[in-house]
Amino acid sequence: MYMLSIKNIHANVEGKEILKGINLEIKPGEVHAIMGPNGSGKSTLASVLAGREEYEVTEGEVSFLNKNLLELSPEDRAREGLFLAFQYPVEIPGVSTTNFIKAAVNEKRKYHGLEPLDSVSFLKIMKEKMALVEIDQSLLSRSINEGFSGGEKKRNEIFQMAMLEPKLAILDETDSGLDIDALRIVANGINKLHNPERAVLVITHYQRLLEYIQPDFVHVLYNGRIVKSGTKELALELEEKGYDFITDEVDLTAE
């Protein structure tokens, strides 16, 4: 049974078609990696799945946990268990990270008919998850993402993911801008959160994150389509030969 099923998705941004027929199916517990050169549509795919309004879906279907994903508002998608770790996490001055996450957790609980967490239980859960992703308490009392370093922002994304316990986590270039230590910590966090019920979709330009996160499947996105799928060996091949060995082939057949 698929958790996420994407069928022939076409999407426009400002009238320009970026996604030109994406097909992808993900089962619970699987880790998928989407790789591709700049401008191939990787982040667009993440944004479309999360429901960003500037992206207009013109064709195709997406089902998530047997629901029509495209009919759900962004907040309902999140509450159903879709989580996006942002490539560029957004700063909200004056809103503490703790309060922000508390609001998010309780909105989700409300949606599922649960009582909001009291402060004591919330703090208890927070302490557990903090250890899991090696995040510092002091970061959580600061305004969310404001003045955070690149590594702190990404770690904070993974921390939110830990707190929200999503069914499907989409990591949009989570590795970008991270030094090797930060990358290791972030990857460790993701691995610890991975379980048989939870699927992960890793979007990345480079293979190096995949040294830490073992994907079950690797897909190459090029020019708005998935042009090649394989196992983790495909990622290694890409690393070795560059994207050209695939894209040249695609461009040739297109001509």
């Binding site: 962004p74 999140a78 957004v90």
Partner: protein, 481 residues
């Protein structure tokens, strides 16, 4: 999906939750303003002769003035002959305690969420309520009087403590100060009076609720707070008004005096009816608020959260006369729909080593216009005067406006004046980030706005801060589509 694209641009209906009219028997005088009306007001309030003379003098002066037009606000000409200058709920008999107050009136306060009985029992907040023109009930008076604190309506003060009123009324805001102050001096009907004797820290927050009930009634309240040497008081003022199609005028005067080493903290949560979403009705709020740090080492702090009124014209100011005195102004002004606010402060540094701090946060939504206007003046003798001003504006949507008019006049070389200003928009990025975490757009905007206003909210006393936060949330309802 497209329909939500301009969600931020659609500032829609914002229901005013305090828009009920209380059906109480009211003693109203006919519309219009002339000497006889002033005599009538003074007579109804059983005032001494000197008070009447004062009023008439102010009225004569007012007649020589023209309404000011320099503020960044637009409104139709006000017909001062079309306003009721006195409206009082008719008391059945002399009131000795809260229990004797008209139950209808009490239920009004309960609708406002300020049950006096509840307040009296639970919170330890002393409340003086002004409805239309007369102060209805003052709680906690006895307990306060034991430590020498006088907290009563200004009318009562005129009767009971004429020497204090005579001495201080008009000493900070003279009747000749400006158009609306002169008008207020002529026709003021009620307000609060606080006197904190030397060395006393007032043990509770003193609080007044103002509410305009009668149709076409202007409310002209007058508040006077005197803190003697080494005393402290925290004063809260809250305002609401029922929904009316017509505009109602509110022109208050507030005067604060802080003697040596005294501190006055004055907090306002203003939620007058702002008019409907087309800009019909609402309160015109033309207020003169000023404090003087008379004695050395004294401090006056204004904190205001302004979400109401169709038009706000208000500049709570501090005259830093004593040496080493401190003036503070913390403000959040939220405007929605067609509201207009021109608000800010004046910090007048006269003494040596005086300090002032201004933190003004303006939030505009809908078609509203929100202006900060502030003056920092360091006089010739204000050696080492320091000022820090920060003005931040947040825009919700692209049909509203934010403006900043800072005026700086420095006549002493040792003075240091700093001014910082920012303008930002609630970005689609911030909104989407919140929504992706499961937070709905309305909640997300509230979160972002409260974050923006946090520095000011932190200055409010605890219970008031919670109320102010709720108020902000209510005012914002519908500002996101």
């Amino acid at each position: 999906m497209k329909d939500k694209q301009d969600s931020l641009e659609q500032a829609v209906l914002n229901d005013y939750k305090y828009g009920f009219v209380t059906d109480i028997d009211t003693d109203v005088i006919p519309k219009g303003l002339n000497e006889d009306v002033i005599r009538l007001i003074s007579h109804k309030k059983n005032e001494p002769e000197w008070m009447l003379e004062w009023r008439l003098k102010a009225y004569a002066y007012w007649l020589t003035l023209e309404e000011p037009t320099w503020a960044n606000i637009k409104y139709p000409v006000i017909d001062y002959q079309d306003i009721i200058y006195y409206a009082a709920p008719k008391p059945k008999k002399q009131l000795n305690s809260l229990d004797e107050v008209d139950p209808e009136l009490l239920s009004t306060f309960e609708k406002l969420g300020i049950s006096l009985v509840e307040q009296k029992r639970l919170t330890g907040v002393a409340v003086d309520v002004v409805m239309d023109s007369v102060s209805i009930a003052t709680s906690f008076k006895e307990q306060l009087s034991e430590i020498g604190v006088i907290f009563c309506s200004i009318s009562e003060a005129i009767q009971q403590h004429p020497e204090l009123v005579k001495k201080y009324m008009g000493s900070v805001v003279p009747m000749t100060d400006n158009y609306f102050a002169a008008l207020n001096s002529a026709v003021f009907t009620d307000g609060s009076f606080c006197f904190i004797p030397k060395g006393v820290r007032c043990p509770m927050e003193l609080s007044t609720y103002f509410r305009i009930n009668t149709e076409n009634a202007g409310q002209f309240e007058r508040t006077l707070i005197v803190a003697e040497d080494e005393s402290y008081v925290s004063y809260l003022e809250g305002c609401t008004a029922p929904m009316r199609d017509e505009n109602q005028l509110h022109a208050a005067v507030v005067e604060l005096l802080a003697m040596e080493k005294a501190e006055i903290k004055y907090s306002t949560v203003q939620n007058w009816y702002p008019g409907d979403k087309e800009g019909k009705g609402g309160i015109y709020n033309f207020v003169t608020k000023r404090g003087i740090c008379k004695g050395d080492y004294s401090k006056i702090s204004w904190t205001q959260v302004e979400t109401g009124s169709a038009i706000t014209w208000k500049y709570p100011s501090v005259i830093l006369k004593g040496d080493h005195t401190i003036g503070e102004f913390y403000s959040v002004a939220f405007t929605n729909n067609h509201q207009q606010a021109d608000t800010g402060t004046k910090m007048i540094h006269l003494g040596k080593n005086t300090r002032s701090r201004i933190v003004a946060k303006g939030i505009s939504a809908g078609f509203s216009q929100n202006s900060y206007r502030g003056l920092v003046r360091a006089s010739k003798h204000a050696t080492n005067a320091r000022n820090y001003s920060q003005c931040d504006s947040l825009l919700l949507g692209d049909k509203c406006g934010a403006h900043t008019f800072p005026y700086i006049e420095v006549k002493n070389k040792t003075a240091i004046v700093e001014h910082e200003a920012t303008t930002s928009k609630i970005g689609e990025d911030q909104l989407f980030y919140c929504r992706q975490r499961g937070i709905d757009p309305e909640e997300a905007v509230a979160l972002i706005v409260n974050g923006f206003a946090k520095e000011v909210m932190n200055q409010l006393p605890m219970e008031f801060a919670i109320e102010a936060q709720k108020l902000l949330a209510i005012s914002m309802e519908g500002s996101v589509g």
